[in-house]
Amino acid sequence: MSTNTTEVGYVTSSRDFLIHLDGLPSVRPNDIIENESGLRAIVNGLEETQVEALILDSGRVNPGQMFKKSNSSLSLKIGRSLLGRAINPLGVAIDGHGIISDSGPDDKQMSLESQATGIASRQFIRNQFITGVSLVDTLVPIGKGQRELVIGDAHSGKTGFLVDLIVNQKNTDVICVYALIGKPILQVKNLIDVLEANNALDHTVVIAAASSDPAPLIFLAPKTALTVAEYFQRAGKDVLLILDDMGIHAKIYREISLLGDRSPGRESYPGDIFYQQAHLMERAGNFKKEFGGGSITALPVIELNLNDFTTFIPTNLMSMTDGHLMFKANLRSQGQTPAIDIALSVSRVGRQTQNRVQNLLSQRIRQVLAQAAELETVSRFSSELPYETQILLHQKELIEELIKQEPLTFVPLEVQMILMALPFTDLLRDKPVELLRKNKHALIEIFTQDPELNQLSKSLSNLTSDDQLITLLQKSSTKLQQLLKS
């Protein structure tokens, strides 16, 4: 006699989204179980006599309910058809554009829980990730495959900056994966709308678990995002992965752990919170051809509480990334966009990806900014300053103006170099900052569109030092001089 045989377990206790079951003899962590009404749960742990599971859907579970083992484990079918779509961490479309169709034979069923590949699969980060933002590309450069933490106060313009990065990749071959972790549903919708309005959704996959979703689903969001990023990386693509925000991810994991009676540690986070986040970060990198050849540039985001970046989770994230961009709300209110604090921002990998001129120019700018910061205090008490000091302070003002960049604007790398070198030429020596402010857009335009000056920007690759660039600019065409005279 043939029979329908499945493994089942009965709920013995339930606390919010955490349930314990008796039965299910051969389940493994990350297996999916479901009850008769289709409510799904993911196996989270195996105890001596019980199975611990986390409910993934909204619904109530009572002791005595039966859960059956489903044939699937925690995995996702990924293909190119995900591009331009917004999905939840289980792969269900949430953008109202219908179900995700199969893309073809290249579709892959991938497990969400995978270990980061070892050092043998990785290669040296040599290529710069061009953000199109002068401040970042020149002073805090990011390499393809780098992990750079985006850290800052609330309302400091982090999300706007991240949207700029995605929009600026639209004419490149870079695939963007944006994970919204526990954000309000309105913010999720706004982001999708902004990307769509700027034609940036075509090369982007949005993975969103809103704050109203069950906690276990929010916890899965970065895992899904990394799995989607890995699919494209293994297809040889460079991927930009944004995890927004890992502070919420940590809080959700704390909630799950406390509910599961795990002993709390510092700030009530469980002992393995570092592992939970580090094993995600480790999945990013620059990979050898045998392992797909692409790269995953990861930008985890964390919002600070009361400007304090020395608390547990921000310092954890700092230690598991290759640098950070520090956003400050007060810089933004002073009119600096992106509101990145250059002195407090670090990139441990990006410098090796810059060309020599860019690197030397960046060093020169940092030196000027540091020296000017020291002299600024003294200058307030002195009525007459030495000429050199006046030049230095003027250069600082010019640089500060140049690093301000309107949202949704892209400045090509060559033009960035020219602009950042301008304060060191005689062209702007006695000119007020207002003149630069007025002509900044015209300058960018002239260097990208004017045939003569465009030629100059293209010839930068032949230079070997920033001094050569400065000399070249001084000798440049009259068009530039006329523009800066007006």
Binding site: T3, N4, T5, P25, M66
Partner: protein, 164 residues
């Protein structure tokens, strides 16, 4: 000693629900006789007087004020660890039918055996059971699901021939 007491109760008890209920009744009855002032008698005990009499005075004499709490603690733990067979019936069963099933199970699979009857009308006919976390479905519903396509074709054929 708790094992002996459980085994004695199991002689006439077949379902997990009955076993839990009888232990609760016994606990209340013994508690009342040992600590009359602190423990009032549950009115439900009156429905089990004949069962309590059948247990005999020698059986009840095993309990005293010092072992009362330990013994019942052990018994309650033991009940939860007994091998439990969950049986889904398609019909509502009477206690007589359950006793017959229970006796047959004891004879076939051993004296320490307990079962948990559940009612699931969606099975239509037959039954399903769960043993050690594995669900086996021998119901008509499972058969229909298994032969879904064939049944549809037979029905279509019958309707077609009637129409012609």
């Amino acid at each position: 000693m708790s094992d002996q007491i459980i085994n004695k109760i199991l002689e006439t008890t077949f379902t997990i629900h009955d076993l839990r209920q009888k232990i609760r009744i016994l606990k209340n009855f013994v508690g009342h006789s040992l600590f009359a002032s602190q423990m009032p008698l549950d009115p439900e005990v009156n429905n089990f007087t004949s069962w309590l009499e059948d247990l005999g005075s020698e059986f009840l004499a095993q309990f005293n004020q010092s072992n009362y709490s330990t013994l019942f603690g052990e018994m309650e733990k033991k009940v939860e660890s007994l091998p439990n067979l969950v049986i889904y019936f398609a019909i509502e069963t009477t206690s007589g039918q359950l006793n017959s099933v229970g006796k047959w199970l004891r004879e076939s699979y051993g004296s320490n055996f307990i079962f948990d009857p559940k009612y699931d009308p969606s099975l239509i006919a037959g039954c399903a059971f769960v043993w050690k976390g594995v669900y086996k479905d021998y119901s008509l519903k499972a058969k229909i699901n298994e032969n879904h396509q064939q049944i549809l074709e037979v029905i279509k054929g019958t309707i077609g021939s009637q129409n012609t």
